[in-house]
């Protein structure tokens, strides 16, 4: 059995469905973080809420694990899942060109039309010089990032990884895509959820928020069933040992429940309330599962997600008692 990957810190920042007070709280936290990082604008200014949410979540995950930033070393890598979060930026950028010609092309906004800019922003602000990878998989973006981080940690390629997902869900493109058979519209809003993960043998980092025991993904026919089955194998867990199932998808499908029961997973199934936050939805469901599993009464939790284009993913997590 592969030793579990430890979750040393969790950072969550979101504005979906938030009231004025909560939004003001996020703004205050961000302001404090930027001040603490001595952000003098030399690295450019943050121009979109997705940058703010991702940076805040990253900073919180590191802080909770006792990591002081800026770091200034190669020991922490970043794996960020993000896809639709930049669609609104791209659409507005191109609309400006259509309206104003080349003069409409903003050199400040242009870098934000590529997905990796958000992970780059994190690396610059916190001075993280390790691996830096952005994975795009729609609603599974965060899942793919977590899976990649686990693979890298287990293989000893990085001792510590900051991994998760970020999004800014904007109605227009997603609504059109859903007409075209693409992803369903999500909750309007912005959010990020990042974990500081470490392999047990790695350098001392404090903070224990739980363990990731297994992960797997699959594409094509029977993808959900295949991902769950492979994930259970990866965690060396019997189906009956699963204490709860958390679904990171907008709708809890009957076929998912049938797959679970067919595999012998009889645990109660709950739909994550964060399922509308696309690229961040899987990490948020993992955070919810870790929180619920922390009371120790249920045992390991299975988190399952799927995407209309790139299949399904599953993770087994366990909260620390």
């Amino acid at each position: 059995m592969s030793p579990p990957v430890r979750v040393s810190g969790i950072g969550i920042a979101r504005t979906d469905g938030a009231g004025a007070e909560e939004t003001a709280g996020v703004a205050r936290r961000l302001s404090a973080v930027l001040a603490a990082l001595s952000w003098h604008g030399t690295h450019g200014r943050l121009v979109h809420p997705i940058e703010e949410m991702a940076l805040l979540a990253a900073h919180d995950a590191l802080r909770r694990a006792g990591v002081r930033t800026p770091l200034g070393g190669e020991d922490i890598g970043v794996a960020l899942g993000l896809e639709e979060g930049i669609d609104g930026i791209k659409a507005q950028y191109y609309r400006d060109i259509l309206r104003d010609g080349p003069l409409g092309a903003s050199p400040i906004v242009f870098p934000l039309t590529t997905p990796n800019t958000i992970a780059a922003r994190i690396s610059i602000a916190l001075d993280l010089r390790g691996e830096n990878l952005t994975l795009c998989a729609g609603t599974l973006s965060g899942a793919h990032a977590l899976g990649l981080a686990m693979e890298m940690l287990r293989a000893g390629r990085m001792p510590v990884m900051l991994a998760g997902g970020a999004t800014s869900v904007q109605g227009e493109f997603l609504d059109a895509l859903s007409v075209a058979g693409g992803p369903e519209g999500g909750s309007p809003g912005c959010g990020a959820c990042l974990f500081l993960l470490r392999f047990p043998a790695s350098a001392a980092i404090r903070g224990e928020a739980g363990r990731l025991l297994g992960y797997a993904q699959a594409v094509g026919r029977d993808d959900v069933r295949a991902a769950i089955q492979a994930c259970l194998q990866d965690a060396e867990l019997a189906p009956a040992q699963v204490g709860s199932v958390h679904v990171a998808a907008a709708h809890e499908s009957r076929s998912l429940v049938a797959s679970l029961r067919g595999l012998g997973v009889g645990a109660p199934v709950v739909r994550s309330p964060s399922a509308g936050l696309h690229s961040a939805s899987f990490p948020l469901a993992v955070a919810e599962a870790l929180g619920q599993a922390a009371d120790g009464s249920r045992g390991p939790a299975l988190v399952v997600g799927s995407d209309c284009l790139v299949g399904a993913a599953a993770a087994i997590v366990h909260g620390d008692e």
């Binding site: 259509l98 039309t113 691996e131 299949g311």
Partner: protein, 401 residues
């Protein structure tokens, strides 16, 4: 030590070989030809720049404007790579096979089309957007090939193609797959052209990597895919290996969103880590495929990074950039350059850095100027760098005869 990962198939679609003929690509590249010319796929009359390395849409079999060219390029390159490896789609254990695609733009052209219709107050065709998502190419290739273990899309700016190959290599070494098809793709669109124009990073005429009179990059487009397998699996089915991927690493500059670290800190770190991963001594490197965009900052920092990594050997190794021929194909660039390294090993010839007209004291290494060179290549290093301070490096080794 993990088992070797061999490359058994290559597929490339570029402005030099729009139909995907690998040998034509290689012959044209080594002959010093260029695919850079006037932009035809959209109107550049309002811009100060007018050149790019494009593939004519008709060569891709695209007659109308509705099909996103990146998808077609990827389809052709992926199919060619599998054919080259003598592997039929679906003729393998699907759950042990995966796809990794590096792309920066995905189907951005489809998004542009949608927004142009909106601007003209015409009915917007939502079905156009089905081609828009970045992960769409990986999903398409997974469906077409039968690879059902994973369909990953990595987007790390101009390092995307290199990172895609690196992640696939790692998946095999970690025991997670027996077959991976990995590479990159991107197609030119107005969004990227306008952005690089606004940043004044484009050249008005030719791309001159490492030349003192270099003026900037030209956009390019294309796709390249590699078929990768564990050495024992390739050997069992009697496949011939074109070479071995032995090391990979990615590192962040952590400095600036659009400019590289002036001394190539991240690129040097990535190259050093990739060589360490592959157990390669720096002085064993015979060839470096440089990122070499032809911009003042990139080429100067890359020269410093190479000196940092290779020491005195940096002055002895053959280094070339193929962006004078192909422009900068973003997500495809690193994958095309990995193919170049493998073909250099196969044939004992390294392609030239074309348009290297005036030696630059800040770029004082052997950049194989203007003419291809015959030389034995046993170990090659391919470097990529991109916006956001992305850096990636791949180390490759020739298979013993």
């Amino acid at each position: 030590m993990t088992e070797g990962v061999v490359v058994t198939g290559l597929g490339v679609v570029s402005p030099l070989n729009p139909e995907g003929d690998l040998e034509r690509f290689w012959a044209s590249l080594c002959a010093g030809e260029t695919g850079i010319g006037e932009v035809r796929s959209f109107d550049t009359s309002r811009y100060a720049y007018h050149v790019a390395a494009e593939i004519r849409r008709a060569h891709l079999g695209l007659s109308g404007a509705t099909e996103e060219p990146a998808r077609r390029m990827a389809e052709v390159a992926c199919a060619r790579a599998l054919t080259h490896a003598k592997i039929a789609p679906f003729a393998f254990d699907p759950r042990r096979a995966g796809i990794v695609v590096g792309t920066v733009l995905g189907g951005t052209g489809a998004g542009e089309q949608y927004l142009r219709a909106e601007r003209r107050d015409r009915e917007r065709d939502a079905t156009t957007l089905a081609q828009y998502p970045l992960r769409g190419v990986a999903a398409l290739l997974a469906r077409q090939t039968g690879c059902a273990g994973c369909a990953l899309t990595v987007s790390t700016a101009c390092a995307s193609g290199t990172d895609a190959i690196g992640l696939a290599y790692r998946r095999i070494t970690s025991g997670g797959a027996d077959l991976m098809v990995a590479g990159g793709v991107d197609a030119i669109c107005e969004l990227s052209f306008s952005g690089f124009a606004a940043l004044k990073a484009l050249t008005a005429d030719r791309v001159r990597p490492f030349s003192r009179n270099r003026t900037g990059l030209a956009l390019g487009e294309g796709a390249a895919f590699l078929v990768m397998e564990p050495a024992h699996a390739a050997g069992r089915r009697g496949a011939s290996a074109l070479g071995e991927i032995v090391g990979y690493a990615s590192r962040a500059d952590a400095v600036h969103l659009t400019a590289p670290h002036r001394e190539g800190r991240g690129l040097a770190a990535a190259a050093t880590a990739a060589l360490r991963d592959g157990g390669c001594r720096p002085n064993a490197i015979d060839y470096v495929s440089a990122h070499g965009t032809g911009t003042p900052y990139n080429d100067a920092m890359e020269t410093i990074a190479l000196k940092t990594v290779l020491g005195e050997h940096a002055h002895r190794v053959a280094i070339s950039s193929i962006k004078g021929a192909l422009g900068h194909a973003f997500g495809a660039a690193g994958a095309i350059e990995a193919v170049t390294c493998l073909l250099a090993m196969r044939d004992g010839i390294v392609p030239p850095t074309i348009n290297l007209e005036e030696p630059d004291p800040a770029c004082d290494l052997d950049f194989v100027p203007n003419r291809a060179r015959r030389t034995t290549v046993r170990v090659a290093l391919s470097l990529s760098a991109g916006f956001g301070g992305q850096n990636a490096a791949l180390a490759m080794r020739a298979r013993a005869a």
